[in-house]
Symmetry: C2
Subunit: 308 residues, 2 copies
């Protein structure tokens, strides 16, 4: 029996240019990717904000995946958060062309009684003060993970440090781990970060995979081999959604379960990047996930063997 | 019973600046790192050239590891190949400060009758015309691997293409795979490269590990987690040495054996970078390798599991 998960983050309209095509005002945002990914495993409750201009069909699509949008506030007369960016032809570089926070600028996440009781929580990349505020609203939280970004490390480190003390798991990328610690080696950075509060840490390395850390424990996983990258937007949030969705189906959450959840997150992210927006996630069948899981296990496993 | 391996490459005196220290005229070169790494597993025969200035103690050290230097030509009156470079403090960037080819400029590798009969051959990164010349000298070669670099892809592609048709395994890095194929995705690049001749391909990704390819087969391995990088010079050649040394102990060489050899190469490289020159490789005990192998298997393995 799954426990259900609450995600607090952004729901946005993205305009994206990439070698694979150009799309204007397509559905995006951290909470969106997370929800679709997690909904494969568990009941998802979304806390986010959109404007009056937000297309009704997107909300209907979320509902069709049993995603609870009671916490998705719609501001009358407001405009939805918009982001636009362009990817280099090899997808290595991403340049932001425009950011319009709109209703997201004054976003004050509110958790209803039911949401407060949900045992699994993901704080997507939003202002640490808001993350802290959400943490203070929760009542029966069993497992909390959070994401963050270089902007908050640079400008709001004190508040972020408070958040880090209260979460079970932090997910960041390698550059952010360096920025947080001044180290330039993820293994050294991880040691420092675990001292800052979180019991678990996942350092995401994009196309090179992810590494999970706990005290004296590590788990290294390459990325799933994807040959047809179309749009990497939301890959990290899809990863988190798959991971947290899987964890919410576990009776207890320890290193072994999180290890498996990193595999699930990796697989989900591999689908997410194969189309624009959440298109590929919407169509994703569990059988496809299982197929990739089997293949991934084959191409990453080696049996321990005696050297000489 | 191991088959023995011949390596053709460079023996050099390196001058290196890094955050960990500065050293002048220390023992380096692709054949050197390769030999020390491979000598843990098999008899190694070196084909390379040095000048009259080459310290006798280095040759004695190679002999103390049972490395055969009959093919190491010493040119009377000549000067040894020298390379000098500096690493950025995070070891991400390497800048060449000076290259003096000296006796390496007119290097003409000659294989003695015994060397020609050795079944395993590694062509380190030298001019493709020399690699081709060595291939034509071999008689009972069972397995040949070769390395190359961007310079030869840019300037001597025709000859390199001939070499690629004659080798079993090519080892290159990701940038070189892109340069060879015009693709910007290693999985797509690998498909193209396998069509160019080699039955097996290893794409090295430095701190992010390596990927092994054969037709419709892949094996993805992260790098071993190293926290005390001192000098990454020769990591790729140490990797190749461990790999080929291991392969020369195998009765037959197929995908499974090469997969294991990639693990061995990864482990050997993890030691190589922990000190300047071949210092760490010289001191390396098999028990240390076994210990890392066990740990590596633990931190990279995940059991296949049913999703839902």
């Amino acid at each position: 029996m799954s426990k259900g998960v609450v995600v607090v983050g952004s729901v946005a309209l993205d305009s994206i240019k990439a070698i694979a095509g150009e799309h204007k005002d397509i559905l995006g945002g951290s909470a969106t990717f997370f929800s679709l990914a997690a909904s494969r495993f568990t009941d998802v409750k979304v806390v986010a904000v959109v404007g009056e201009d937000f297309p009704k069909e997107h909300i209907e699509m979320l509902h069709s995946h049993q995603i609870d949008t009671e916490g998705l506030e719609q501001v009358a007369g407001g405009k939805t958060f918009r982001w636009s960016g362009v990817y280099s032809d090899d997808y290595v570089e991403r340049t932001t062309l425009d950011t319009q926070l709109n209703v997201f600028e004054t976003f004050q996440p509110k958790l209803s009684e039911e949401y407060q009781q949900t045992p699994i929580l993901f704080l997507a990349n939003i202002h640490p003060a808001l993350q802290l505020d959400v943490l203070n609203q929760t009542k029966k939280c069993e497992f909390v993970a959070c994401d963050t970004m270089n902007l908050w490390i640079d400008t709001t480190m004190d508040t972020l440090a408070e958040v880090m003390k209260k979460v079970d798991l932090l997910t960041i990328n390698d550059e952010e781990s360096f920025l947080l610690t001044g180290k330039r080696n993820i293994y050294l950075a991880a040691e420092e970060i675990l001292k800052m509060g979180p019991k678990y840490l996942i350092i995401k390395r994009g196309e090179f995979g992810a590494v999970l850390f706990a005290k004296n424990k590590r788990f290294l996983l390459p990325a799933y081999p994807v040959t047809n990258v179309i749009d990497p937007t939301g890959a990290g949030d899809s990863f988190a959604g798959g991971m947290m969705g899987y964890l919410s189906t576990c009776d207890t959450i320890g290193f072994e379960e999180i290890k498996r959840s990193v595999v699930v997150g990796t697989l989900i992210a591999s689908f997410s990047v194969e189309d624009f927006s959440v298109t590929r996630l919407e169509a994703l069948e569990i059988s496809e996930l299982e197929e990739r899981e089997k293949y991934f296990s084959e191409v990453t496993g080696f049996n321990s063997f005696k050297m000489l």
